[in-house]
Amino acid sequence: MSRPRAIALLERTHDEVFARYGGRDISVDTFLAHVTALSARLPPESHIFNLLRDRYEFTVAFAAIVAAGKCNVLPSSPRPAALARLAEQLPAAAAIHDGHKPFSGMTALAFPRLASAGRSDGIPEIDEHQVAALTFTSGSSGTAMPVRKRLRTLRGAAAIYEDALLPKGSSIIATVPAQHMYGLELGSLQAFWSPVRFSAGKPLFPADVHAELAGMSGDRVLVTTPLHLRALLESGLSFPDLSRVLCATAPLDRALAQRAEAVLKAPILDVYGCSEAGCLATRHAARTDEWTPLPGFEFFDEPPGHVVRKEPTGIPRTLVNASHLDEAVPLGDRLMLSQSGQFHLAGRLGDMINVAGKRGSLGEITHLIMEVPGVEDAAALLPESASDTQRPAALYVGNADAEFIRRRLREVLDPVFIPRPILRVDALPRTATSKLPREALLDCFARHLKRP
């Protein structure tokens, strides 16, 4: 690690537009005044769960937390029991929320009403190594693994994205939450270090996206996912002019990309990334399957003998590194690297799954089912399906009721990972060595599904 250096939390001119919030443009100066006002009210704890859903309020809190030398905690699921589990891993945690209180026993600050103008402390200078945020990735060990985001990493990424993803002057509208790495970097933090503006809303339905786009002027860039994109096309609505669409969290299929370009009359850029390292590569999905790394990122296969984390299948992992990262990051996907530096994706490694853009682990779901009283054995699986929002399913052995298991899982698990269905079986098809071959598991699932 290099010698500590202070960097500006914001590299923007004071009168530039920073965001669109509550139907009006917010200048950099107004944003700084809001940050100063909130800083004075933050709870004393070192780690603050930033649960705000409005992207502008989230960003005000994010900056105030960093400026106070504290760390943002960004859970992928705001469920109370999930937060309680994460809080156990942290030294001292409080929360800032917008009405949905986290859980009893945790200090919680409701986001205050923002004054239209006020005094500002100016742009804070922050140690570049300060951990600005903790995000979480699903490990196969059964617990969510924290990923530390240092300020220098976030700032380094923004410089790369300015050239490759979000040109200067972009007006950003995002359908993904700010607590998700992709939504955090492209939907909010890009405005810290690049002259872009973002819209505060998080539109869900196509009619909401339409309204949010119509409220933004300039070079509109939509930051979205394949699921939202498909919904936009199926709505039959006609949308305001877009300069480009960035689509991430799950690979976009070519037919959908081509249809989207025809309807939205804008280039659709598919973005590949992970929560540990951010956005890493792009492709013009309507024309090619091949991914091109963003400038500054180097991809390499794990050299034999230097295995960081061995896969049970024996497939070598691909790692990615860049000067703004602390260390090389092993990727959860199989990458086929070519001589030119480009690559193809060839599936997920191990037990990782992707449900409508959210990444999780079958091992984690299995682990949580096993914790339910009355469950003796269990296995989560991903059934074969044509649907692009394929959900996990689960088999279990024991006298627990499936509805009871479902209720217990809801307390801790992001709803998209709750198995559908959860089926009771007499025994799982374990081998003599207690392993569960995937084929046998899928077979067992199919047999029980057909039973009336």
Partner: protein, 90 residues
Amino acid sequence: MTSKSTAEHQLAELIVEVLNLEDTTADEIGAEEPLFGDGLGLDSIDALELAMAISKAHGVQLKADDDSTRAAFENIRTLSAYIQQEASAA
């Protein structure tokens, strides 16, 4: 469980089909059972899938930032009434 009208039953069938609720049948979903949270346990991805199916079947565009739609998503009865009202207004 209160009995469902024909339109409500059709909506329950649409939900089961679109959301692949393989362990639930349309008959098992009560007209006033909450769709989200502790009832059927649907999530925002389900809401989006359902909105797509509803716009295809009835030509109605749902909006999440609109209070009347948020209330409409409460249960089958409210959602069915909302769809009929919007479809006849169009």
